[in-house]
């Protein structure tokens, strides 16, 4: 099994990062076609017909999302979500680092379709290297007339700013991203109104993930029909999949959607080390309910098949746990992340993530009873669907799945791991202040 490289084509060429290198590989031809030969509506319908689904996690039709923006003279905006912060996800980092102009070209074409005059790339602050690369590429694109006033001899104008975040997972949630970009604390907003109608600065706003926008030049350049030749009927195209955890060749692999998951994990990523077996994996980042090896390895890797199995493809990030990994400890590690990142606005998420960490901490310390597992499970049910955004759900879904599918292992840990010493018992008492407070 090999990769099908569309977005990562020529990525081994370090010159691809520069405008000259990108053009040498045919770059910006799609943008010239779109701005020179196509009406904005044609671009939009090409995107809709391609069936491209958002690569940030939700998998919503990109063209449809763009078509929700109202028409009219008001200022419209495009935001590229480059706040990739989901544990397990590192594909946007690769795409921005190796091929920044592909993203800029995609943004310019999508801005034409959405009639947006200003665009922002909201990149997580940790990606300093990638932000520097983007800054250099944006400067080149301005210089060459792909951005700014009178793009490619038309009357169109597009301003593009690379905006660095400062470390907050919640800013990847689209409405929190808008608040952060408006200079506030990154708290999510109530929806509706949806950003397409009332987003950045109150104007219609199209928000798309890095990988989604990086697909746009290929679709416009070669056509929706060509694009649909890759992947499955409901998940057309390729996907850059981040595979990590207990595999011997972790990394990003670009494959057609619908390939067997086993090939991704065991062939491309090398599988677990010799003598160890896949036990479970998160198919779509740490927010996705885990699948056991029996459930998941032989499923096609697509949006629809992962959903049918009770999980999700999400951002396309696989984290593999082999038979040496303790699921209760993995659950605690996962819950801690969401507890740390909860913005605190909605009670079910703020309190639910907090109590889940406390209870799982008790579980691994041997302070819990099997009844506590039912409480852990019920807390998850009380979070899902009860908050402004899905951060709490993103903890509840994987934790719920782990307790459900590996309940025996949790019970064994509870039975086996009683605190041995007085010191450890004291640690339990100290836990709220020391291990659960705001960290980093």
């Amino acid at each position: 099994m090999s990769e099908t490289r569309m977005l990562l084509a020529n990525a081994e060429d370090p010159e691809l990062r520069t405008l000259e290198g990108y053009r040498r590989h045919g770059g910006y031809a799609s943008m010239e076609k779109a701005y020179g030969e196509m009406e904005p509506d044609e671009v939009l319908s090409e995107l809709e017909n391609s069936g491209l689904r958002g690569r940030g996690g939700a998998g919503f039709s990109m063209g449809k999302k763009a078509s929700f923006l109202p028409r009219g003279d008001m200022d419209k905006y495009l935001c590229c979500n480059a706040d990739e912060s989901e544990p397990g996800a590192f594909k946007d980092r690769e795409l921005m680092q190796r091929n920044p102009h592909q993203l800029i070209e995609g943004i310019a074409i999508a801005a034409l379709a959405a009639d947006a005059g200003r665009a922002f790339i909201f990149i997580r602050g940790e990606y300093a290297t990638q932000a520097d690369i983007l800054d250099a590429a944006v400067a080149e694109a301005y210089e060459a007339g792909y951005l700014g006033d009178g793009i490619l001899g038309t009357h169109r104008r597009l301003e593009l700013v690379v905006h660095r975040g400062a470390g907050a997972y919640i800013c990847g949630e689209e409405t929190a991203l808008l608040d952060a970009l408006e200079g506030k604390r990154g708290n999510p907003r109530l929806k509706p109104p949806f950003p397409a109608v009332q987003g950045l600065y109150g104007g219609p706003t199209l928000i798309n993930n890095v990988e989604t926008l990086s697909n746009v030049p290929h679709i416009v350049g070669k056509g929706a029909e060509w694009f649909r030749g890759f992947g499955t009927e409901q998940s057309p195209g390729t996907k850059v999949v981040s595979v990590s955890g207990c595999v011997t060749r972790p990394g990003n692999f670009e494959v057609e959607l619908g390939i067997p998951t086993r090939e991704l994990i065991c062939d491309l990523a090398g599988g677990p080390p010799a003598g160890r077996e896949v036990k479970a994996f998160y198919p779509g980042g740490s927010s996705a309910p885990v699948l056991t090896a029996e459930e998941g390895l032989d499923l096609p890797y697509s949006f629809e098949d992962m959903a049918a199995a009770g999980s999700m493809l999400g951002s396309g990030s696989i984290i593999v746990a082999d038979d040496t990994v303790s699921i209760p400890h993995m659950a605690l590690r996962t819950a801690r992340f969401y507890h740390h990142e909860s913005c605190g606005k909605c009670t079910p998420c703020r309190e639910g993530t907090n109590w889940t960490v406390k209870m799982l901490d008790r579980v691994v310390r041997g302070e819990a009873t099997p009844m506590d597992l039912d409480i852990v499970a019920s807390v998850q049910e009380n979070i899902i669907g009860h908050c402004l955004c899905v951060l709490g759900d993103s903890m509840a879904m994987p934790i719920g799945s782990m307790v459900r599918k590996f309940r025996e292992e949790f019970e064994e840990v509870i039975a086996a791991a009683g605190p041995d010493t007085e010191t450890e018992r004291l640690n339990v008492v100290r836990a709220p202040a020391e291990t659960l407070g705001a960290s980093t």
Partner: protein
């Protein structure tokens, strides 16, 4: 029962001897010209000046090493917002420091994939190596580099996969102002599926009992 004097702040929400701080005037804050010019440039990038808050705080942190109160006042004066507004923003984000930290920053990922590969031990190794040095070491949530687990961000650049001895080497190089771990830089890494990419044995998983001691 004797009556205790009631703190007016409890009933009115205001402290009698403290006035709310408004937008400071530029001449009051002694903002260095370069910082003022940089923040003015940032404000000019956006339709609404508030949007420059995170970039302005980055500029303050770049200049002072952290978001020092006087730096926040300077940024507030240039942006025409209250210092409290910027403090509220600064405290929300993990990378903006509202307390002094070392001149160099090492963030060690302890999230799922790095934890599986020994991130907790790596954090301990960095902490031990940085003892007494002007280097800030902290555990951090997923940094988006699970392919090089366990990894660390050193002064904003990514390195991995790191063994425990790399921590001591890196700290020595940081302190001596030498290039840090050139062979471990993410930028030099080929794509996983390309020739030149090596497969490697995944390290033994962390001891289950020890792994949940607090790391942050």
């Amino acid at each position: 029962m004797s009556e205790l004097p009631l703190d007016p702040a409890l009933t009115t929400g205001r402290e009698a001897d403290r006035e709310a701080v408004g937008v400071p005037e530029l001449h009051e804050v002694g903002c260095p010209d370069e910082l003022r010019e940089e923040i003015e440039r940032l404000v000019g990038l956006y339709p609404d000046r508030h949007s420059a808050s995170i970039p302005a705080l980055w500029a303050v942190q770049e200049r002072y090493g952290w978001c020092a109160p006087e730096g926040i006042r300077q940024a507030a004066a240039v942006m025409r917002v209250t210092p409290a507004y910027l403090e509220g923003v600064a405290t929300f984000y993990d990378m903006l420091h509202t307390e002094p930290v070392g001149s160099h920053k090492v963030l060690v990922c302890t999230n799922i994939s790095c934890w599986m590969a020994g991130g907790d031990g790596l954090l301990d190794a960095f902490r031990a190596a940085a003892e007494g040095e002007d280097v800030y070491v902290s555990g951090f949530e997923c940094l988006g580099a699970c392919d090089i687990a366990p990894m660390a961000s050193i002064d904003g650049r990514y390195f991995g996969p790191l063994g425990d001895t790399d921590a001591a080497t890196a700290i020595e190089q940081i302190v001596a102002d030498h290039e840090v771990l050139p062979d471990k830089s993410l930028l030099r890494r080929p794509l996983a599926g390309d020739s030149g990419a090596e497969s490697r044995p995944h390290p033994a998983p962390p001891d289950a009992g020890a792994s949940e001691r607090d790391r942050r």
